[in-house]
């Protein structure tokens, strides 16, 4: 009895909606959320995801406890802001986004377990999450096995591509090559000292950097390459080596607490970053908060987004972020990339007119987001983003000043030929 009454109540409404939908494709093309434009759940969700007539559930999977909480907090904040804004603008296919947040606790097996929970128990239509490559590698088999969709925000080393992941940060070649070309051209830099924390991202990135310096830049050489265990806090010896070799550029990919120690000791050792060129790809505004602006002022960073970018999208985004999370919060590259996740997913769902994972994966290439704070972005066939690369210079107030940006979008190339 009750089985019949329920659909009985809904079906006239649904029929009306279906008729309305048939008459309204023109409206939906304009991107306006029209209330009559809510397609039937059975039509947009054929694989049993958590989609109802009024709601769709997505997952947020980051570390809010443990060592990585320092970095991942910003991503969680950005994703929540994006979801709130999407809901205020009418949701996705007329459905409000509801999110379930899980804590990866900076522990990679926990990430895999929570990913499975979000996909199998909660049937999340998409998951925004992960930060380190290690956590992404841990959840990747889960997303592939249970056919989920992950929006991954961090710049990373590349060498990966999956139907089930959209990489909203830059892969290594996007971030590295343009920056090296820039420093070579404008600073006349010939010798480079490569530094990094000892794990996959800095090592792969420095490998790409070395190949580019040795094979593509005329007369340039690498005078040193060194790695430090994660969490190292003593850099005086390597700073002496840098003083001895006098490189034109210090190329630093140091992360976490080591970052703070490195820049403080660099300054204390009398290396003046207004004279010594230092280029980093691992220090966003978030990290400067801990390092202290006065310790890193003068350094150059190469990434795709700075909080100080002067464009209308960013001018709306920064105040909205601060309004939600407090005046003192800063927005780094990854935080912005995390903000793109929910928006790209919404645009893809609307393009595919479906929540089905397979249809979203197929519809993703070519999806454009004109409202991105970094400016226009587009999803490539390889599920990474076309984006501009920018060089900024750190100021004592903790912000970057934009120095250079590529004229065109840089093509993502996760498997670069000649760089492996």
């Amino acid at each position: 009895m009750s089985d019949e009454t329920k659909p009985g109540l809904k079906s006239p409404l649904r029929r009306k909606l279906l008729m309305g939908m048939a008459a309204l494709p023109a409206v939906s093309m304009l991107g306006r959320p029209a209330f009559a434009d809510v397609p039937a759940t059975s039509a947009v969700n054929t694989t049993g995801l958590a989609v109802t007539d009024s709601e769709v559930t997505v997952g947020i999977l980051h570390s809010v406890t443990g060592t990585m909480a320092i970095s991942e907090t910003g991503s969680v904040e950005a994703e929540k802001l994006a979801i709130e804004q999407i809901n205020a603008a009418g949701g996705v296919l007329g459905r409000k986004i509801k999110f379930i947040q899980e804590d990866g606790a900076s522990d990679w097996p926990t990430f895999a377990e929570k990913a499975k929970k979000l996909l199998v128990n909660d049937k999340c239509a998409a998951v925004m999450g992960c930060w380190t490559s290690a956590s992404r590698k841990a959840v990747l088999p889960v997303f592939e096995q249970y056919n989920g969709m992950l929006y991954y925000p961090t710049f990373y080393e590349g060498l990966e591509q999956s139907k089930n992941v959209i990489y909203t940060g830059q892969e290594a070649t996007q971030q590295i090559i343009a920056g090296l070309d820039w420093v070579n051209k404008t600073k006349g830099a010939k010798s480079f000292y490569l530094l990094g924390s000892d794990y996959i991202w800095p090592r792969t990135s420095n490998k790409i950097a070395r190949k580019h310096i040795e094979n593509h830049l005329q007369g340039c050489k690498v005078v040193g390459e060194e790695y430090f265990p994660l969490g190292s806090t003593q850099f005086n010896s390597v700073i002496n080596k840098i003083k001895l070799t006098k490189p034109d550029v210090i190329y630093a990919i140091i992360v976490g607490g080591s970052n703070v120690a490195f820049y403080k000791q660099l300054k204390a050792a009398g290396i003046d970053l207004s004279k010594q060129t230092l280029l980093t790809i691992s220090v966003t505004e978030d990290e400067i908060d801990g390092i202290g602006g006065e310790n890193i002022a003068g350094a150059y960073a190469c990434m795709k987004y700075f909080q100080s970018l002067d464009n209308p999208n960013n001018k709306a985004f920064v105040p909205a972020f601060k309004k939600m999370w407090g005046e003192k919060t800063v927005i780094g590259d990854v935080t912005q990339a995390a903000y793109l996740g929910p928006w790209l997913w919404k645009l893809t769902v609307e393009k595919a007119q479906s929540f089905d994972i397979d249809k979203i994966a197929a519809a993703s290439p070519g999806v454009e987001f004109k409202g991105a704070p970094e400016g226009y972005v587009r999803i490539h066939e390889n599920h990474h983003l076309w984006s501009k690369t920018r060089v900024g210079r750190a100021k004592a107030d903790g912000q970057y000043e934009l120095i250079y940006e590529t004229a065109d979008l840089v093509e993502p190339d996760p498997f670069p030929k000649g760089y492996q």
Partner: protein
């Protein structure tokens, strides 16, 4: 690697490298001293040592904020106030922990390991809830930053010299307290024979509490000093804990001289190897050497001869 350099260049680097080693030595001594007192004198394996240090760092951060707002004129000297407050805060927390947790576990040394590890997790999450997950930047007075230009090509970091001076001062104070004051004699008596010390009228419980408090307080000072060279965040204490135990265990758990000798040998090995090899390899070789030496000499460099 030396072919292209002039003698004066090499001399300057040698001098700066020597100082780098001495600075590392001071850092090791400062971070290990508190633990050496607690682990060495009381036999408590304090896994929360790093978190006591970070409490000191947070106290420093708060002091700098307060001083900047209330009395900006005092800012150049705030660091000294901050270190005293850090000592008091960490020491008080240490005594509280000793009273609430540690004293129930004196007869079960391995359980203290688990309990203090749990305590370290609790403290980390407490810092995260109170101060936020992000790192905080501790602003330093102008005179503590930069370097001292000894000659044209030799620059010595001022904060490094500050840590060295602080380490020497604290080491002298600790040695004075433990070896010349009457309270220090009580501590050593309790270490050597707890039952006998109690029998001659020493209040062993009180001695334990103050010893633990002293160790934690010194950790607080170390944390405060390390805001100059490292990061301040909820989990930053974890960066120090392994090196700290390494220094104490290698030196011989019950000997303060051992701690200093081991800090010296580890830091010199580490910083010399770092200069000739790379950072990660230097660490690997240092650790391998220590493991090899401990296999031959499990009691560490110096061992106290105690009738068991």
């Amino acid at each position: 690697m030396f072919g292209d350099y002039s003698i004066s260049d090499l001399g300057a680097i040698l001098a700066m490298q020597g100082f780098a080693g001495l600075i590392l030595f001071s850092v090791y001594v400062l971070m290990a001293l508190g633990l050496a007192i607690i682990f060495g004198q009381m036999g408590v394996i304090n896994m929360a040592h790093g978190e006591f240090m970070i409490l000191g760092a947070y106290v420093t951060w708060m002091t700098s904020n307060v001083v900047q707002h209330v009395a900006p004129g005092l800012f150049p000297g705030y660091f000294f106030i901050a270190m005293i407050l850090a000592f008091i805060a960490s020491g008080a927390l240490g005594m509280l922990v000793e009273w609430a947790l540690i004293r129930h576990l004196y007869k079960r040394p391995l359980d203290t390991l688990l309990a203090t590890w749990g305590l370290s997790l609790i403290l980390q999450q407490a810092y995260r809830s109170i101060f936020g997950a992000r790192e905080v930047g501790v602003e330093l007075p102008e005179w503590m930053m930069g370097s001292w230009q000894a000659t044209d090509s030799i620059q010595i970091p001022i904060n490094g010299m500050f840590v060295m001076a602080l380490t020497i001062l604290i080491t002298i104070v600790v040695f004075y307290i433990l070896f010349w004051s009457s309270w220090g004699k009580q501590v050593r008596a309790v270490v050597q024979n707890r039952v006998m010390a109690g029998a001659v009228g020493i209040n062993t419980e009180k001695v334990d509490r103050y010893t633990f408090g002293l160790g934690c307080g010194i950790a607080g000072i170390a944390g405060s000093a390390f805001t100059m060279i490292g990061s301040t965040g909820p989990t930053a204490g974890q960066l120090y804990i392994v090196d700290t135990f390494l220094v104490v265990v290698f030196g011989g758990a019950a000997s303060l001289f051992g701690t200093i000798a081991s800090a010296f040998s580890i830091s010199q090995t580490q910083s010399t190897l770092e200069f000739f090899l790379s950072g990660s390899m230097a660490k690997v070789i240092t650790l391998l050497t220590i493991v090899a030496i401990l296999m031959v000499r499990p009691q560490g460099l110096f061992a106290l001869k105690v009738r068991k």
